[in-house]
Symmetry: C2
């Protein structure tokens, strides 16, 4: 491992995060609130961190950038970003504890949206904009760093993004990392502008439109209201956000291909079909149970609330328009299952991802066929050709590893006196980067009451989930640090 090149990369990252403090500072200065000084102090700390990494990285050469350096660079990006990101919370005094502030910052940068704030509305707009912006930066990090950078370095875990990308292989279309990163960045930026305009058209103030857009396109889910999106009680806003979340939870490579070809054909993708079918199927089931149990009397109202909650949870956004903690058990368990499923590979959504489940289901069906015809060769297909055995093993192991981390984390946080539903759903909500869970961490609750030990477990889970597990787990390998 070459530490210098990693340090240089982190120095650039720290500088970028620090520079981005300007945007929330603008709102603080406009309002004349006391959080402006917190941003200045944070910028000082951020600059110091950036400078320290710059000195450590002196003499780094571009040729030293290998897989290990890329992995370490990506993983520590989130750790360092959160270190700078938690400063405004601490300096402004709105989240004085370091554990809490770091949790909140990591929750933002990993686009989780789990909060330790009990009461959001009295917090000044600068701080809340910073909180919203961390998600947007984190989402961009996923889109640019993870989707564009790692596959080109041949990192195994991202085989799936490549296998699923439509049309000619991405390496051929974009021979250079930089070119592809720029394309993805433009797409992300475009989606942000469109979403903000649509929300302003629905009567949101510019400030709230930007904050909710930041949360939606990154599938982060932080709101500026205690009641989340339910505050607006507007069908128009609900449907606009549903649409934006749905787009953000789909593979960005599909959107790129569709925009370049000015055609919907790229959406004829097996994962996208699965994603759409599950979202619609779950919505109809939940809608039916809500009507049966009389939670809503009107079909269209039931549809609106089920669709919003399903898309919000499945894309791992975590916006809330109804207190689903009071809904029938079946609907709560369905939402818990959707948390684990997640959106598409190559999106800003977290969790296991549709394509992995799809490959595993196809392989299981192939296994059944092999039982009946022991000597037959049974191949399984995804949009872009055959899924090879190593891809199947990789997907299935990912699911199993995910379940193991989920189980071990649930055990650990149950040690702090949480009940079973709180333990399991809090870990699901953080590991899958959703945000709200059930019971004590449900849609109308927060993580403030959790113990410090549990909060660090959640912080680790958020990072783990966001970086597809292996990027974080590999840091514990001796091989990673050798030489």
């Amino acid at each position: 491992m070459n530490y210098k090149i990693v340090a240089r990369f982190l120095s650039i990252l720290a500088f970028t995060i620090t520079a981005s403090l300007i945007f929330p500072l603008f709102w603080a200065l406009a309002d004349g609130t006391e959080d402006a000084s917190a941003f200045f102090l944070s910028a000082l700390v951020g600059t110091a961190i950036s400078a320290a990494f710059f000195i450590l990285g002196k003499g780094a050469k571009k040729e030293d950038l290998g897989s290990r350096e890329a992995i370490a660079g990506v993983a520590f990006s989130w750790v360092v970003a959160s270190l700078i990101g938690c400063m405004p919370y601490i300096f402004s005094g709105y989240i004085p504890s370091f554990t809490d502030a770091y949790f909140e910052a990591m929750s933002g940068f990993t686009t989780t949206g789990a909060t330790v704030m009990r009461d959001i509305e009295p917090v000044p707009r600068g701080i809340l904009m910073w909180r919203a912006q961390t998600q947007w930066l984190g989402g961009m990090g996923i889109v640019v760093l993870v989707i564009a950078m790692l596959p080109l370095l041949g990192v195994n875990m991202t085989q799936l993004f490549k296998a699923e990308s439509p049309g000619p292989s991405l390496e051929k279309t974009y021979p250079r990392i930089a070119e592809m990163a720029v394309m993805l960045w433009r797409l992300y930026m475009g989606l942000t502008v469109v979403s903000a305009l649509l929300l302003v058209a629905g009567g949101m103030t510019l400030y709230n439109a930007i904050a909710h857009t930041f949360a939606a396109v990154s599938t982060g889910g932080f709101s500026t209201h205690n009641a989340s999106v339910a505050y607006y009680d507007s069908a128009y806003i609900d449907y606009v956000l549903t649409f934006v979340m749905f787009i953000a939870g789909a593979n960005f490579n599909l959107h790129l291909a569709a925009l370049r070809g000015r055609s919907f054909r790229p959406y004829k993708d097996s994962e996208f079909h699965f994603y759409t079918a599950v979202a619609l199927g779950a919505t109809l089931m939940i809608c039916a149970v809500l009507l049966r149990d009389g939670v809503f009397k009107n079909f269209f109202q039931a549809l609106r609330y089920s669709l919003f909650q399903v898309v919000s949870i499945m894309t791992t956004t975590g916006f809330v328009t109804a207190d689903y903690g009071k809904w029938p058990m079946f609907t709560q368990l369905t939402l818990l299952a959707l948390m684990l499923l997640g959106g598409c590979a190559g999106s800003t959504a977290g969790a296991i991802k549709c394509v992995r489940f799809q490959v595993v289901i196809k392989e299981s069906i192939a296994e059944l066929k092999k039982m009946i015809h022991p000597n037959a060769v049974v191949a399984i297909f995804q949009s872009n050709g055959t899924a090879n055995p190593s891809m199947v093993a990789s997907s299935a192991c990912f699911i199993a590893t995910f379940i193991i981390i989920w189980g071990v984390s649930s055990l650990a946080v149950s040690l702090c006196g949480n009940d079973i539903v709180t333990s399991i759903s809090a870990v699901s909500a953080t590991l899958c980067n959703v945000g709200p869970g059930l019971a004590d961490v449900g849609p109308v609750c927060n993580f403030a009451e959790q113990s410090a030990f549990a909060k660090w477990i959640y912080t680790f889970d958020m990072l783990c989930g966001r970086l597809e597990l292996y990027t974080v787990l590999v840091l514990f390998s001796r091989d990673m640090w050798r030489k």
Copy 2:
């Protein structure tokens, strides 16, 4: 699919089950209780079923036995056995509803040990012996049919048993199915006799010693007392049963090899080591938490109860000596995780099995290595050589399929108004063939209050879990029934 050969096999099976009614009948006649007539009526029904299959199977030829016929024969064995097995419950009037009686019979034959009986002690000894005996027959079915028969037919799912069996491959040691089946049967019989003698030595009546032995060697877990094994309040009996359950949860091929070679060397097996390590590790963790929270004051008492509960749950037996529903959350979640893990492949234990987790954990570590060295070839090893990619994919897909069935079943039973912990743990308890779960189906509760719809889901899950999923799932494939 050749129906005739399957029918002939089921005719022999139905006859065997019917003939075995003699043993409980003996106790009923000895006590002079009214259940004797129920056994005569059940024998009539059993004979009729056997005769019907005999007529359907006329003209069957041995050469027609292929994979599909073997799979259908095994899967329907449990369905038909439970159909005969539920008769004594219905005719004696102790479980009048067909749904309930079939649930109880399937629970016995699948060695699950989940019960719908609210009060066991007033039930006559004949009926309770039949209930205990169904487990013993089911356990023998697993040992003889599944371990001996399916691998020799080249059925893919049992690759694991072969890969894990120590010494020269089983095919070479036992060229004929019959020979290996006889060896396994003798081993199972021997373990039964030893266990019964040890329990009688501890002061149990012969009747109770036999009934509890039937439940222990098959990892079934039905007791003749409402308080289960806690009734005896004897450290000696606790430790004897812990030992028997531990043996029954280990790979029977290891025991066979050890007995034949008069050596402990076969136990130097990677899965057996994992199994032992997890059991001891979980015991110590639970013991520590019980002492910390003051559930027990004395270390040796805490050890005795944690060890018993851990081995009972991990081997999927489900005997109970303490109401762990009142233990700290951490210990309950640990037990829930152990349920899903289960014992060793090639044992009478249910659930996912240690070896599958082990292969997946090793593969995940290999994936981490591949991330660091993208061009390296990383092989993973089990006791008997390299685990090939198809074995890894198979194990990982099994876990994923298990989790999917678990999730879907939990969703289905939550529709009946169960809370989340009851839904999840009832499905775990039945799908993993453990018996007791948590909350409404906890160690001091039963399945009587569950709705009929939920009971059929549990019945299906018991069968699915017992037959390693695929043997049941494949029945839903069109390919299975063609020709």
